[in-house]
């Protein structure tokens, strides 16, 4: 596998791989995301307790799950970059960070908009919302650390260390927040936390998760390409690429 993977550590090859993969991801992301949203909004049955406000789950849960997933992916690429000294891995890390931050924001926002009709207030210090908020802080920390360095090679390494520190902490944060929540609040909120998911609700939910994951992947591929271009802008292969694109 290493033999197969290794050439893609070279930025030019990674760029070309992205170029080849992008159309497939865009098409499949569009299809599955639309399918998930339409199914969730139009065809899935409404919850007997929460009525149609329950449909927010089809964007809230995917974004909550994938915000954590994007952070782990970011930390894994940081780890690859730090251990094997792969520059492309740092570029992947920093291409992912804003996507993860936006998805975390979506999870927070939809959580608040779901909380308003259910709990009566926009914000409740419930376990999931609190850990999402902390996750957003972690993302912003990595992004601003990267942005403060002039030398982007150094920036990648520094932000990578911070991403790994964050990912070691993430389970502890999650556990502590959950524990803190049960300590300070009764079971009044957890009633809504895990709606009993019937199969005809589960399928659209799974498709929404897949759809959002593919949308994020497509944006990530394009952002990775941009990052590679930005860092290698004076390299001959980029110059040739642009000249070729212009000629067409």
């Amino acid at each position: 596998m290493w033999k197969w993977l290794h050439p893609y550590a070279k930025t030019q090859n990674a760029y070309q791989l992205c170029e080849r993969l992008l159309p497939w991801f865009v098409v499949s992301a569009f299809i599955s995301f639309t399918l998930g949203m339409v199914w969730g909004l139009l065809f899935a049955p409404s919850d007997y307790q929460q009525g149609d406000s329950f449909r927010i789950i089809y964007i809230h849960v995917p974004s909550a799950i994938l915000s954590m997933g994007a952070y782990s992916a970011m930390a894994i690429s940081a780890f690859i970059g730090l251990v094997w000294q792969v520059r492309t891995a740092f570029m992947a890390m920093i291409a992912l960070a804003p996507i993860g931050a936006v998805v975390t924001f979506i999870a927070l926002f939809t959580g608040a908009a779901w909380g308003k009709p259910m709990w009566g207030t926009w914000w409740v210090w419930d376990a999931r919302l609190t850990s999402e908020l902390i996750l957003l802080f972690l993302y912003l920390g990595v992004i601003s650390l990267y942005a403060s360095f002039e030398d982007k090679q150094q920036a990648g390494k520094a932000a990578g260390v911070m991403a790994i520190v964050g990912v070691v902490n993430l389970p502890i944060i999650h556990f502590s927040v959950e524990w803190w929540n049960t300590l300070h609040q009764g079971a009044s909120i957890t009633k809504f936390d895990k709606p009993s998911v019937a199969p005809d609700m589960l399928w659209p939910l799974l498709i929404s998760i897949l759809g959002l994951a593919l949308v994020m992947a497509a944006i990530f591929i394009r952002r990775l390409q941009n990052e590679i271009l930005r860092r290698e802008i004076h390299r001959p292969w980029v110059q040739a690429l642009v000249a070729e694109a212009k000629g067409k």
């Binding site: 949203m37 139009l42 049955p45 149609d52 979506i106 944006i219 941009n226 802008i233």
Partner: protein, 87 residues
Amino acid sequence: MQFESFSAFVDMGGYGFYVWLSFGVSLLALGILAFEAVRQKKVLFNAVEKEQARKVRIKASKTSATSQVKSSYSEAQASPRNEEMKQ
């Protein structure tokens, strides 16, 4: 299909505002992210193109400058540099 009419679909059983607000903001946020990614690539390509065009111009002005040196020394000293800086 869970809804009988389009207006029932928009109303979402009374929760329309919250449902459409959260879906709208989510789609908007993802849309901005995607748009930004697409736009950035164009910006980068344009930057490279500009630089290439500039290199071509520098080359052209240099060759013309050396030819002018042969005819009139003083003119060549003033014009090509200034032109380059204006652009």
